[in-house]
């Protein structure tokens, strides 16, 4: 269900406790910056009855308690905040290096990407590890980063039927997106490699290695290096 016109953000209903405010379509750094600015503004304005503020690529999901607030009230508050939204500068970000062992048992779907892109393995690895990817959002599982900036040559559709379990540390591609699985979970992404790093460690002081707005750089490593780093991570 979609309300609103072209200039204003569109509002979609997500059941009886969720509103999605959509600032655009697809993966666009400008749209994403607007989403994050809006998320910050909603937080600052503390809307009564809003229990979660979840920024994503191009939209913001607000979860509300209908016993406390009404969706109509929220929509007008959102429009009011949107009108006062100022253009925000780019926040300082760090580049986080993630070592990845591509292919083999760690990347069972790399052949799908090779076939779909019509490139050899070396090229797929080179194209995938070249960019610094912006973390547009974190979600799906603890610390799962949704990265923008994937080389068009590597765009590959999701698996037809999602896997019931993708191993921890898996690196994958889904259409124009790339990301990593910090914990074992079901998923439909094409898996091309695995990192030995612990991406979510609740016992660590900071359970996560990065935040939304940071950048990720993948570093291709050998199987031997993977094993060495894996042992180091576990100690």
């Amino acid at each position: 269900m979609k309300m609103g016109g072209e200039e204003k953000p569109a509002i979609r209903l997500a059941g009886d406790t969720g509103l999605i405010i959509e600032f655009g379509q697809g993966i666009d750094p400008g749209v994403n910056a607007k989403v994050r600015a809006m998320a910050g503004a909603v937080k600052t304005n503390t809307l009564r009855g809003v229990t979660e503020i979840i920024p994503t690529y191009c939209s913001l999901l607000l979860i509300y308690d209908p016993l406390i607030t009404r969706p109509g009230k929220l929509v007008s508050a959102i429009e009011r905040i949107e009108n006062t939204l100022e253009r925000t500068g780019t926040e300082p970000c760090k580049v986080v290096e993630i070592p990845v062992c591509y292919g083999g048992e760690f990347g069972p779907d790399i052949e799908n990407v090779e076939k779909s892109a019509n490139f050899c393995r070396e090229d797929v690895i080179r194209f995938h590890s070249e960019p610094e990817y912006l973390i547009y959002m974190i979600g799906f599982t603890p610390g799962f980063p949704f990265l923008g900036g994937l080389n068009k040559k590597l765009f590959t559709p999701r698996l037809k039927t999602p896997r019931m379990s993708v191993p921890e540390g898996s690196v994958g591609i889904a259409n124009n997106q790339t990301g990593m699985y910090p914990i074992a979970s079901p998923g439909g992404w094409q898996i091309i490699g695995r990192t030995p790093l612990k991406l979510f460690a609740p016992q660590r002081k900071n359970p996560f290695l990065y935040k939304a707005g940071d950048k990720i750089k993948f570093i291709p490593i050998s199987r031997k290096e993977y094993t060495r780093l894996k042992i180091k991570e576990e100690n």
């Binding site: 209903l13 997500a14 969720g18 379509q25 016993l67 979600g139 799906f140 610390g143 799962f144 609740p202």
Partner: protein, 315 residues
């Protein structure tokens, strides 16, 4: 103090409260109980605040040894409960004492039952909640379902002066053919005939049904011609009905924060207990409902809980 020893863990028993809120933007799902109504009543029956940690039992109940005098209650799915092999009723408070063996059986109707303890289960709080998130290995008892020989603690509290029971008319039935109400969207504009199919056909719950989601089987729901087969990943709600390319609906539940497929409709909050009380092989029919009606039902449910609170406090 140690209060409970797990003799047999049952099918899938986890410690849950209402859920973990405020961390979904870091990918931490809400977790928590699937049947809020049965959960609230289980707590009220033993004199707890309605959002106190309980055990959520799935399909087959556990067997536990009681190590201190307590009040307990079992609500939700009908599983049958015995104290020292003597059958007792569900949906009422039960006084147990040190050395008693409480055994909960195989499900007869419904899927999930809630076992509450006076004072509440005491486990370390993780990110503001006691709920177990098994996928992330956090919360509850060591971030996992209960196992044989686990020792669980409860908080000390005064016991009830009188036993309580939920009036029969307020006890839900858990039919194996469930009607589930849903609001179209957020991506209902990705579908045309698919919407008609969703609200007219019957779907079966498959064996792939857990706290993350329920995969259904039935008439395929195609995406409208010209629309992409998946969307840019966005957050999901408990109750989102997403349609992957195999055109068979998946209901996303509480251990999930994002979905990458178009969501044709979202199950209303008041019917999340209904879907989570269905088991593989059960059938579902979806019914379209508008936002206002759905909000009315949330208020109605809250009133029901308040009524019960009032009945109990008048004792």
């Amino acid at each position: 103090m140690n209060a409970i020893k797990v003799l047999a863990p049952g099918g899938y028993t986890t410690i849950q409260d209402k859920g973990r809120f405020g961390f979904q933007h870091m990918g931490i799902p809400v977790s928590g109980v699937l049947d809020r109504f049965a959960f609230a009543l289980a707590n009220l029956l033993v004199g707890n605040h309605e959002n106190t940690a309980v055990m959520e039992l799935t399909v087959m109940g556990p067997s536990i040894e009681i190590r201190k005098e307590m009040d307990i209650a079992l609500t939700g799915a009908k599983m049958g409960i015995t104290v020292n092999e003597n059958p007792v009723d569900q949906w009422r408070s039960i006084r147990v004492k040190k050395g008693d063996i409480v055994t909960i059986g195989q499900v007869q109707s419904g899927c999930r039952a809630y076992l509450s303890f006076s004072g509440g289960i005491s486990v370390p709080e993780v990110m503001g909640s006691f709920s177990t998130y098994v996928g992330g290995k956090i919360g509850g008892f060591k971030g996992r379902p209960l196992q044989k020989d686990d020792i669980i603690e409860t908080r000390d509290t005064p016991l009830l002066s009188t036993g309580w029971a939920v009036p029969q008319k307020l006890i839900p039935a858990y039919p194996s053919h469930a009607v589930i109400r849903a609001i179209p969207g957020p991506q209902d504009d990705y579908f045309d005939t698919g919407l008609k199919t969703l609200f007219q056909s019957e779907y079966m719950v498959t064996a792939k049904a857990d706290r993350m989601g329920y995969r259904l089987q039935g008439d395929p729901i195609p995406i409208k011609a010209g629309m992409p087969k998946s969307i840019v990943s966005e957050p999901s709600m408990p109750g989102s009905i997403q349609i992957p390319p195999d055109e068979q609906p998946i209901i996303l539940l509480v251990e999930q924060t994002v979905g990458g497929y178009a969501k044709i409709a979202t199950i209303i909050s008041s019917d999340l207990p209904v879907i989570s009380q269905t088991t593989p092989g059960d059938t579902i029919r979806f019914e379209k409902i508008d936002l206002n009606t759905a909000h009315g039902l949330i208020i109605e449910e809250q009133n029901k809980i308040n009524t019960i609170k009032e009945i109990f406090s008048n004792h």
